[in-house]
């Protein structure tokens, strides 16, 4: 097991992404942050906090929520059904908004495909952008991220785990080799 991103790197990356999001979208007014549970949801909250700080507005003015994609997965027949996680769409909704999807690890792209399907059935955002903490490569679909914390080339035998203090008690990104699992 090796640490690919210590806490300080994660914090720095999130701050940078917050700036990039604001820059791309001309401020926080028309953006909606949607984290994909479980860890993406916590990352979304941190980004919202970061954005509020940068813009010097109350956190309540930042539209942030969660989007569970379980029911849209394309592998439902292949694996055990999972318990659903909450989907919370902020009051402003998604119609005509710049929606930023947030996930921890960007891998095959199938999760994001499912998220796009889920979003598509809720309304028509002005745009959908993707922010991820780690991009580990190995895409299986033509999907790319708009904001990346760190590109992390990996082999398929490795696994990338994001630990966040809210859940795991510590902030770090680690790479594990299959043999270690």
């Amino acid at each position: 097991m090796s640490v690919a991103m210590p806490a300080v790197d994660i914090s720095r990356a999130l701050t940078r992404i917050a700036h990039e999001i604001l820059e791309r979208n001309g401020g926080a007014d028309s953006i909606t942050l949607l984290g994909i549970p479980t860890r993406g949801a916590h990352l979304a909250k941190r980004l919202a906090q970061s954005i509020a700080t940068i813009e010097a507005v109350p956190l309540t003015q930042i539209a942030v929520g969660t989007l569970d994609i379980t029911m849209h997965r394309d592998d439902l027949r292949l694996r055990a059904p999972r318990a659903l996680m909450p989907t919370v769409i902020p009051a402003a909704g998604i119609q005509g908004r710049h929606v930023i999807l947030i996930d921890d690890v960007f891998f095959s792209g199938r999760t994001i495909r499912a998220a796009l399907d889920a979003l598509g059935e809720m309304g028509r955002p002005k745009s959908v952008q993707l922010a991820v903490l780690v991009d580990r490569g190995h895409r299986e679909l033509p999907i790319r991220a708009d904001f990346v914390g760190k590109n992390l080339p990996t082999s398929l035998t490795q696994s990338v785990k994001v630990h966040l203090s809210e859940i795991d008690g510590v902030d770090e990104v680690v790479i594990e080799d299959e043999a270690e699992l």
Binding site: M71, R77, A80, P81, L84
Partner: protein, 316 residues
């Protein structure tokens, strides 16, 4: 878990998992678009040997919101007096590739019999069998109670629910007595002794013949439908006397705690077991029960059917 035939098929963890899933699905159902792709390509059969439009359309809505293909098979009125028909029907459905059969039958145990037979390979879901059980009704009742009175994701610890009326012939009462007590609620059955089964003392409930003494202590009161024809079998002398002792009316409603809710699985006999005033009061969650039914049935279908093999289900 492959089938849902009785509350006894569940334990507390599984039951809560259904309720939690239903809660999330209810949120999705509130969104403008109500369809999920989850069960696309799956075939679900509504096999109804007994009329029940409300239960059938509730399951149908649930299945359709999960994008399953739904076949409605109403076997009522055909030559179903003998089991050959159940067997033949089951084999027909198997040949058509049913992934799940939702069965409603006037004979207690018919779903169990179907599930234990080798006639069909898919899941069997009990949508009410005779005077035995109606597990999804109990799940939606528990869901409704939790939503109003419990913590939204916890159990029903500390709550007191009265189930009132024709317990003897009620599949809703049997399933609810099992489920609500499993989830930590105290259940009191209220009925004249004639409408309580011999052997009820083995159930995980209390029994009372005195509605008025129970009402001030309950958090929810669930009224059961009483059929007029029960009078002919001497279960009670007259409808008027029944209403007098066991009907929910304005005076009785005033005995209830401020926060207590009124439930009824429907269809109601207004004026017999419940007056219109109570059924339509602010305490009544009867209409909401119907809406919750769809979410709970979606959760059951998802959890039973989504996995590749039934052995992998969350409910395992």
């Amino acid at each position: 878990m492959r089938h849902l035939l009785s509350i006894n098929d569940l334990d507390k963890t599984k039951a809560l998992s259904i309720l939690d899933t239903a809660l999330e699905l209810a949120r999705i159902s509130d969104a403008p678009v109500k369809k999920l792709p989850t069960l696309r390509g799956r075939t679900i059969v509504n096999l109804f040997f007994e009329d029940s439009t409300r239960t059938r359309i509730s399951f149908e809505a649930a299945a359709k919101r999960l994008s399953a293909d739904v076949i409605n098979f109403s076997a009522k009125g055909s030559s179903v007096s003998k089991g050959e028909s159940l067997k033949d029907t089951a084999q027909t459905l198997q040949a058509m590739g049913a992934d799940a059969v939702i069965i409603r039958h006037s004979a207690s145990g018919a779903p169990r019999w179907l599930a234990d037979s080798e006639w069909i390979a898919g899941s069997v879901i009990n949508a009410g069998d005779g005077t035995h059980e109606h597990p999804t009704q109990a799940l939606l009742d528990a869901f409704t109670i939790r939503k109003h009175l419990g913590s939204s994701t916890g159990d029903l610890q500390g709550l007191h629910v009265a189930i009132v009326g024709d317990i003897l012939h009620s599949r809703v009462a049997r399933s609810n007595a099992l489920l609500l007590s499993m989830l930590g609620a105290q259940v009191t059955l209220v009925a004249p002794p004639t409408l309580l089964p011999v052997g009820v003392d083995s159930w995980p409930v209390k029994v009372s013949y005195d509605f008025d003494s129970v009402l001030p202590h309950v958090d929810a009161v669930m009224m059961l439908r009483v059929q007029q024809e029960r009078m002919q079998d001497f279960f009670f002398p007259t409808a008027r006397e029944y209403s007098h002792f066991f009907g929910l009316n304005r005076d009785r409603m005033s005995l209830m705690k401020k926060s207590a809710i009124i439930m009824h699985p429907g269809p109601m006999n207004r004026g017999l077991e419940i007056t219109a005033e109570c059924a339509d009061s602010a305490r009544s969650v009867i209409v909401e029960q119907v809406a919750n039914g769809v979410s709970v049935r979606m959760a059951v279908l998802y959890l039973l059917l989504a996995g590749a093999t039934q052995e992998q289900g969350v409910l395992q």
